[in-house]
C-alpha cells in the first residue's frame, strides 16, 4: 500500500491554524451525529415505535460491542497500523470467559470480565511484539494471528459450546440492565470512550500515537519510542476486543467456535466511517465509536422499516464508500484552505 506516499495529515500546526483545523475535524464528528440524527428521526417519522425506549435500548446495547472494539482498533489505525485479529480474539475470549463459570463455580461476574480483558491483552501483546521486534507490517502479522487465534479457539472449543443454561442469569441480565432507560453496558462504553478520548488528546503517550501515524520517521527522530507505543496500542486493542468477547457472551449466551467471525472488517468499517484515516495520524476514538453506533442504527432502522433485510449489507458497504469519498473531498478542501491562508499570511 502507498503508506509511505500518503499525504501527510495537516494536524500539528502553529496556533492560529490549529483552531481552524480543529474546527473542521470536530465538524467531521459532528457530521456523523447529524447523519445519525437523520437516520433516527427519519425512521421514527415513518415508524414511531423506533423511538420506543425498548427499541433504543436494544440498539444501544447491540452497538456497544462494536463501539468498544472500534475504540481499540482506532488507536491502532491512528498509528498507521491495522489489527485484523480482533474478530478471532472476540471468539476466543467469548468462549473462555463464559466457560470459566463452569471451571470455577461461583466466580464473581466482574472477575469474568477481567478474564476476557486478560486474554485479549495477551493476544495483543503477542501481536504487537512480533510486529515490533520482527519488523513485520502489522497487516501481515494480524492476518496470521487471525488464523492462529481462531484455530486455537477451534481446538479448545472442539464440537462443544457454552449455552445460556451454563452461565448465571445475572451474567445474561447485564445486557438488559439499564439506568434511567439507558443500558448499563452503553453507559460503561461511553465512560470508556471518554477516558480513551481524554488519553489520546491530553497525554504525551497518546499524542505520540498521532505523531507515529502522521510520519513514523519524524516521530522516531523526535525521540518517540515507536515500538513501545505501537505495542501498547495493540495490547489495548486486544484487551478491548477481549472485553467485546465477554459482551458477546453476555448478549448471545450461546457460544461456539464461530463467535465473532468477520468482525474485523466490520470494526474497521466503523472506524473509517467514524473519520479515522486508514493511513493513520488523524481521527479520534469518539468518531470511531459513533461510526459503530451509526452502522448498528442503520441495520436496526432497516429492520423496523420492514425493508428487505437482504439489502442491509449492500447499504453498509455503499455507506462506507460514501464516507471515505466524502472524507477525501473534505481533506482536499482543507488543504486548499490552508494553502490560501498561508499565502495570505505571506508564510
Amino acid at each position: 500500500m502507498s503508506a509511505a506516499t500518503a499525504d501527510p495529515q495537516p494536524l500539528e500546526l502553529p496556533s492560529g491554524q490549529t483552531r481552524f483545523v480543529d474546527l473542521v475535524l470536530r465538524a467531521r464528528t459532528f457530521g456523523i451525529v447529524v447523519v445519525l440524527a437523520i437516520v433516527v428521526f427519519g425512521t421514527a417519522a415513518v415508524q414511531s415505535r423506533f423511538l420506543d425506549s425498548s427499541s433504543i435500548q436494544f440498539i444501544l446495547a447491540d452497538a456497544t460491542i462494536f463501539a468498544v472494539i472500534a475504540v481499540g482498533e482506532a488507536m491502532v489505525i491512528i498509528t498507521r497500523n491495522v489489527d485484523l485479529s480482533v474478530g478471532s480474539v472476540v471468539g476466543l475470549s467469548a468462549f473462555l470467559s463464559a466457560s470459566t463459570f463452569q471451571h470455577i463455580p461461583g466466580i464473581p461476574i466482574f472477575a469474568v470480565f477481567f478474564v476476557g480483558l486478560a486474554i485479549g491483552a495477551g493476544c495483543g501483546l503477542v501481536t504487537g511484539l512480533v510486529s515490533a521486534i520482527g519488523r513485520i507490517p502489522s497487516l501481515v502479522v494480524t492476518l496470521a494471528m487471525l488464523y492462529i487465534i481462531r484455530a486455537v479457539d477451534i481446538l479448545i472449543v472442539g464440537g462443544s459450546q457454552v449455552t445460556t443454561g451454563q452461565v448465571p442469569r445475572g451474567f445474561l441480565a447485564i445486557f438488559t440492565d439499564s439506568l434511567l432507560g439507558i443500558p448499563d453496558i452503553a453507559i460503561g462504553a461511553a465512560v470508556l470512550v471518554a477516558i480513551a478520548y481524554y488519553y489520546m488528546r491530553s497525554f504525551r503517550s497518546g499524542r505520540d500515537l498521532y505523531a507515529i501515524g502522521s510520519d513514523p520517521e519524524a516521530a522516531r527522530r523526535a525521540g518517540v519510542p515507536i515500538a513501545k507505543r505501537v505495542v501498547t496500542a495493540f495490547v489495548i486493542s486486544g484487551a478491548l476486543a477481549g472485553l467485546g468477547g465477554v459482551l458477546y457472551a453476555v448478549q448471545i449466551g450461546t457460544i461456539d467456535s464461530t463467535a465473532g467471525t468477520g468482525y474485523e472488517l466490520q470494526v474497521i468499517a466503523a472506524v473509517v466511517v467514524g473519520g479515522v484515516a486508514i493511513f493513520g495520524g488523524s481521527g479520534n476514538v469518539v468518531g470511531a465509536a459513533l461510526g459503530a453506533l451509526l452502522l448498528g442504527t442503520i441495520t436496526s432502522a432497516l429492520y423496523v422499516l420492514g425493508i428487505n433485510q437482504d439489502w442491509d449489507e449492500a447499504l453498509q458497504g455503499a455507506l462506507l464508500l460514501l464516507a471515505i469519498s466524502l472524507d477525501r473531498g473534505i481533506q482536499a478542501q482543507l488543504a486548499n484552505a490552508l494553502r490560501r491562508r498561508r499565502v495570505r499570511l505571506g508564510a
Partner: protein, 375 residues
C-alpha cells in the same frame, strides 16, 4: 508434482528479476546482503520447494493414499483451484503496492448472479448469455474499485473493504436465502471428473496453471510486467519514467474483477450450488497465499513461480493434514504459522545480528561497571 515439473523449465527462466533477492523484509536496503555465495540457495522459491518436499513427505508418511491420483484430485487440487486463480491478479496488484480485498465478494456475487439468472423459476437465461453477463459484471465491479482508487485517490485497503461489503451485500440482496443447484451436469462435472489424461488434476487447477504461464510471461518478460515492479518500487519514479501509473492500476483492478467473476462460475459449478455466501472469507486466504509466495506487501517484489509453489504448498498441506490425526479444522494454525515464518525468516539474520550486538553492548557495560567497582 507433475505440474510443477512441467512448468519448471519455463518458470525458472521467468523467475529472474526483482523477486530473486533473498530478503523480502520491509527494509531490504539496511544491513549487509545475506548469504554471499550461498545467495542462490537462499532464494525464496528454493525455500518453498523445500517446504513443498516436506509437505509431500508428511502426506506420504500419513498415508500412502496421499499420492494416489484420486486423492490428489479430490482433496488437493479440486479444493484449491479458485483460490489459486484469484491469487494471480492479487499478486500483480500487491506488486504495484495496492491490495484488493473484494476478490471473494466478487466471486460470491458472480456465483449468486449465476444462480439467479439461470434459475428455471426465475429469469432462466441461456447459460452462454449468463457467462457473458457475469464476466461483464466482473469488469464493472473491478472497474469500480479501480475508479475509486485511481481517480478519486482513495486508499485501496479502505476502498476494497467497502466493496467487499457492498458486493457481498448485493449477492445477498439478489439471492436472499435461496439455494440454486439445478445446473446442467455438463458443467457441474468439473467438480466430479478430473482433466482427461491427467487423473490427478482438477479443471480449476488446470486453468490456474494455464493462467499462471500467461501471467508469468507477462509479468517477467514484457515491458508491461516490468512497469508493475517499477510502480511498486517507486510510484513517482515510475510516473516520471513515462509509465501510466493510474491507468495500469485501473486495468489491474478490472482484470482482477473479471478473473474473480470467472472463478465464481467455476466455484458454483464445482459445488453445484449457488448461495450468497459462496467463498465467504476467502480474500484473506488469497492474500496469505500471495504473501507466502514471497510477494512483498510493500510492493515491488514477487514472482509467479513463487505463487505457483505457494499454492501447491497450501493445497498439499491441507490434503496431507486430512490424512493425519491433526484436527483439520485447526488448519489455521498452520496457515498463520507459515505466514509468520514466511515474513520473519527473511529478517532472521538481521534480527540475529541486532540481538547479538545488543548482548555485546550489555556485556561491555557490565564489564565496565564491575571494573569501576574494583578500582
Amino acid at each position: 508434482m507433475e505440474p510443477d515439473a512441467n512448468l519448471g523449465a519455463v518458470a525458472s527462466a521467468l523467475a529472474g528479476g526483482e523477486g530473486s533477492t533473498p530478503q523480502a523484509g520491509p527494509e531490504p536496503l539496511r544491513g549487509r546482503r545475506v548469504g554471499g555465495r550461498l545467495a542462490p540457495l537462499l532464494r525464496w522459491e528454493s525455500g518453498l520447494i523445500v517446504v513443498l518436499a516436506l509437505v509431500v513427505l508428511l502426506g506420504e508418511q500419513a498415508s500412502t493414499t496421499f499420492l494416489s491420483s484420486s486423492y490428489l484430485f479430490s482433496s488437493v487440487f479440486n479444493l484449491t483451484g479458485e483460490v489459486a486463480i484469484m491469487s494471480l491478479p492479487m499478486t500483480l496488484i500487491i506488486i504495484t503496492g495496492e491490495i484488493d480485498l473484494s476478490v471473494a465478494s466478487t466471486l460470491g456475487l458472480s456465483s449468486a448472479l449465476l444462480g439467479y439468472l439461470y434459475n428455471p423459476l426465475g429469469p432462466h437465461w441461456p447459460l452462454g448469455l449468463v457467462f457473458v453477463t457475469l464476466l461483464a459484471m466482473g469488469a464493472v465491479t473491478g472497474a469500480f474499485n479501480g475508479f475509486l482508487i485511481t481517480r478519486l485517490g482513495l486508499p485501496s485497503l479502505a476502498v476494497t473493504i467497502g466493496t467487499l461489503t457492498l458486493y457481498r451485500g448485493i449477492a445477498v440482496g439478489v439471492l436472499g436465502e435461496n439455494t440454486i443447484s439445478t445446473f446442467p451436469s455438463f458443467y457441474t462435472n468439473i467438480g466430479v471428473n478430473p482433466v482427461p489424461g491427467l487423473p490427478f488434476l482438477s479443471w480449476s487447477f488446470a486453468i490456474f496453471l494455464v493462467l499462471a504461464v500467461i501471467f508469468g510471461v507477462v509479468l517477467h518478460m514484457t515491458p508491461l510486467g516490468r512497469s508493475l515492479f517499477a510502480i511498486g518500487a517507486n510510484k513517482e519514479a515510475a510516473q516520471f519514467a513515462g509509465i501510466r501509473v493510474k491507468r495500469t492500476k485501473f486495468l489491474l483492478y478490472l482484470l482482477s474483477g473479471v478473473i474473480c467473476a470467472f472463478a465464481g462460475i467455476l466455484y458454483t459449478f464445482r459445488l453445484n450450488t449457488s448461495v450468497s455466501n459462496n467463498g465467504l472469507g476467502l480474500e484473506l486466504t488469497v492474500v496469505a497465499t500471495a504473501l507466502l509466495a514471497g510477494v512483498s506487501i510493500f510492493g515491488g517484489k514477487g514472482t509467479i513461480i513463487g505463487v505457483l509453489l505457494a499454492n501447491l504448498v497450501f493445497a498439499g498441506l491441507q490434503g496431507a493434514l486430512y490424512l493425519t490425526s491433526f484436527n483439520e479444522e485447526a488448519f489455521g494454525i498452520v496457515t498463520g504459522g507459515l505466514l509468520l515464518i514466511s515474513v520473519l525468516a527473511p529478517n532472521g539474520p538481521e534480527l540475529w545480528r541486532r540481538g547479538r550486538e545488543g548482548l555485546r553492548r550489555q556485556q561491555r557495560l557490565h564489564r565496565r561497571s564491575t571494573m569501576g567497582k574494583q578500582s
